[in-house]
Amino acid sequence: MKRSVVFVVFFLILGFAVAGLYWSQRRPKSSPVSANAILNMAADAQRDLSRVPMRLTRLSDEREIRIGKDLASRYATQTRNLTPEEEGLEKYVTRVGGTVALRAHRHLPYTFTVLPDHNLINAFSLPGGPVYIGEGMLDLITSEDELANILAHEIEHIDHYHCVERVQVEAKLKDLNLDVLGALLQLPLDFWEAGYHKDEEFEVDREVVRRIRHPRAKPGPGAFRAGHSELERLFPFTPAPFRASRRSQPPHRPGALGNSQGAEAVPRRV
């Protein structure tokens, strides 16, 4: 290269770098410093790699339903009986959940159970259809819309195979035989209360917006705004319907939620 050309290019690139530096210093908001980029890439890679064996070892719906029913019957013995008032509440939850479940991709026998524990501010689901919601969570809900969102979120975890994949992973990790249900029944109830991978949570939330919560409306800001004051007061950083995912969701990756923020987030990614 000619020396003069090199110098021109050198000063152009240097000027671009200095301009970038200048622009970055003018931003009013400071960017956080963390290893999130590396963690995101590692987590994405881990998640993608784990999905390959999941796809190749898919259980049939019948087996998934059978596993879910056995797990549900075992957990039923661990909780106290419902009071008449709670039974009424459970019927109401079942009615709302049943309506929501009609929009799921897979037509599984979805069941809805209220766990009589006012300290349980959570909802979770088992493979094959059982959905659980804590009474503590119900205490915070102020509208049917909120309840529908939460139940839809859990239904979509079942619908998108997240629950059954967790069984598959756990069975693999503990060297359990999926055909021997007794081994799977060793899994404690807490195991199901933990959140899922962030991509799975995003996927579920997107589906809730797209198919269940507003089946005809175009997803957009405000989709989740309807009366979440109490939940949002307790958990101000995450949309209320994403409650079940709260434990597992790391700080989101920029761009993953499109051009929205906070409660108005509409995930764009697959």
Partner: protein
């Protein structure tokens, strides 16, 4: 006044030493020694008694200088010894007493500065003029000179506020180095080294954390910038044995200066950490250009370190910077300049350039090219929606293969092939197996995304065919590398089969056989058009796979509608190929 009455005793002592007469030469020497030492001792006492406390050290050093001058005048060595001893007395006195003298003496100058500077000046004089014999000259010079420098360095400690001590010491080291350049005094470079070491320690332990400002400018920025500049100057000016210079030992200073510069950027840009990477990149670019211009290898090495650091840094701040949905944000305008810098530096390390042989021997050129590509790959990974990453990477493959062809750079070909494998892996792991189980209803679904990636890769065949066989396999290539070199010799195979695998696998179960059949025909025709036997065989292989799948699986497992459609279309396709075979049997045999 009482002490002045002892002056005649002093004079008498010296007079006796000079005029004493005795026949025994040994006695005469002893007597002279005794009288002169006694006279000097009494004179020291007289000065201590006669002068005010702050000036005693000054008086003693002046007396020592007089003794040293007298030695040269009357050539009596005992006076030189006495000068050294008196000089040390002045040093001790100054050290233990004069540093506490904070009262002003003249203008802004304190009594401490004035008296200690005089003592130090006297010691510097003694270091050159007070050697009683030649063989002691070096030791005396080192002793007094180090003592004087130590006094002045300590004086700077007392006088300079926190942030300014380091540049003061650095400037002092530079002055010593310049004086040494002029007079070639062996003891001065060592003092420069010692002061520079102290400066570096002070800069790292104190100056980096100074938050004070001077006329609105950060003291940290000013002081460390001065230190860095002085260190670069020291690397050039400080005198060293030639053997050391040949081994680039003097560049310890330039390394220290660059380290200080890098740390300074780090600390000054803490308020907006995204700027650090781009600042390091620009710093590395400047160092590289200077190193290239002046043919200084060590500057280029420092540049490489700065550039590697900037690359690592983007993973900690820049890649996750910006707001969701923001396209032209800090991520873009702080990372894109780095990409340009990496490739610009790489472009200036051509194989024919003799100046940069060492750089290439250490593979810095390859490293920088890979850093540039890795940076843009990482940028795209975070910049675009996650499902579109595969397409953006495919576009990078296209650009890399184009660059390999246009610039005649096999390195870009290797990168392109590597990234093609990356596109394939990414497409399979994320877009195929990692995607949701239920297809997207909009145009962003995996069909469009993966199709776009495949189309871009297939478009890259334009370059891949032209690059085929362009770069031969080196003679003594490592056996482990040989297969890779062979693959690089046939890039069109990789660039062709990666998208084909993606397309083949992305078909849904219902219509997969039909899709494969159509794909097989397209590939076969493409193989005919490009005269590629491997392509044609692939097309026929896929067609045979279709037929096998129809009879083994589809006839028994598919839904009725899919079953009929599959059998009909595959039948048509196989009939078409059979027709081609029957009509152009000989021609096709030639191709196969």
């Amino acid at each position: 006044m009482r002490s002045f009455s002892a002056l005649p005793v002093v004079v008498g002592g010296y007079w006796l030493a000079k005029r004493l007469g005795t026949s025994d030469e040994r006695h005469l020497k002893l007597a002279r020694v005794a009288y002169t030492w006694a006279g000097t001792g009494i004179m020291v006492w007289v000065l201590q008694e006669a002068l005010r406390a702050p000036w005693i050290a000054v008086g003693w050093i002046v007396f020592a200088v007089v003794l040293a001058l007298s030695t040269r005048w009357i050539r009596y060595q005992q006076l030189a010894w006495q000068a050294n001893v008196v000089g040390l007395c002045a040093l001790v006195r100054a050290f233990f007493y004069n540093y506490e003298l904070e009262q002003k003496f003249w203008g802004p100058m304190s009594l401490r500065i004035f008296t200690i500077s005089l003592v130090a000046a006297g010691l510097y004089f003694l270091s050159q003029k007070a050697a009683p014999k030649e063989r002691y000259a070096r030791a005396i010079a080192f002793l007094h000179s180090f003592a004087a420098t130590g006094l002045l360095a300590l004086l700077a400690w007392y006088e300079a506020p926190n942030g300014w001590l380091a540049p003061l010491w650095a400037a002092f080291a530079l002055v010593l180095a310049i004086v040494d350049q002029r007079f070639e005094l062996d003891e001065l470079p060592w003092q420069s080294h010692a002061l520079a070491g102290l400066t570096l320690l002070r800069s790292i332990s104190v100056n980096l954390y100074v938050t004070a400002t001077w006329h609105g400018i950060s003291v940290r920025l000013l002081s460390l910038a001065i230190v860095a500049v002085i260190f670069y100057a020291l690397a050039r000016l400080i005198r060293m044995p030639d053997e050391w210079r040949k081994r680039d030992i003097h560049h310890v200073y330039s390394w220290a200066a660059s380290a200080i510069g890098g740390l300074l950027l780090w600390y000054e840009l803490q308020s907006q950490p995204t700027g650090i990477a781009v600042a390091w990149g620009a710093f590395g670019l400047v160092l590289f250009e200077y190193g290239l211009l002046r043919k200084i290898t060590q500057f280029r090495y420092q540049a490489y370190v700065a550039l590697i650091a900037s690359f690592a840094r983007i993973f900690l701040a820049n890649l996750t910077a910006g707001e969701p949905g923001e396209f032209w944000g800090p991520r873009m305008y702080t990372i894109l300049p780095l990409v340009l810098i990496f490739f610009f530096v790489y472009a200036q390390l051509p194989p024919k350039e003799e100046n940069t042989v060492r750089d290439r021997r250490l593979h810095f050129d390859v490293l920088l090219a890979y850093l540039g590509t890795a940076t843009i790959v990482a940028l795209f990974y975070f910049q675009f929606p996650i499902e579109w990453v595969v397409s953006s990477w495919a576009a990078v493959v296209f650009a890399l293969l184009g660059a390999a062809l246009l610039l005649d750079q096999p390195l870009f070909l290797h990168q392109g092939l590597l990234l093609t494998v990356g596109v394939l892996a990414r497409g399979m792991a994320h877009n195929l197996f990692g995607a949701g189980y239920f297809g997207e209803g909009d145009w962003q679904g995996r069909y469009f995304v993966l199709s776009s990636a495949a189309v871009i890769l297939l478009a890259s065949l334009f370059f891949a065919f032209r690059l085929r066989g362009r770069y031969g396999i080196p003679q003594n290539v490592n056996p482990w590398i040989r297969p890779l070199a062979l693959i690089a010799g046939r890039p069109e195979q990789v660039v062709f089969f990666a998208p084909i695998i993606l397309i083949t696998l992305k078909m849904r179960s219902g219509m997969v056989t039909v899709s494969w059949g159509i794909e097989g025909v397209v590939i076969f025709v493409l193989g005919l058009a490009t005269r590629q036997r491997s392509f044609r065989l692939t097309g026929i292989g896929i067609l045979l796979l279709c037929v096998a799948k129809v009879f083994a699986l589809d006839v028994w497992g598919l839904q009725t509608r899919d079953k009929y459609i599959t059998v009909i279309i595959v039948g048509v396709v196989v009939s078409f190929v059979s027709f081609l075979w029957a009509t152009y049997k000989d021609a096709i045999r030639q191709f196969l």
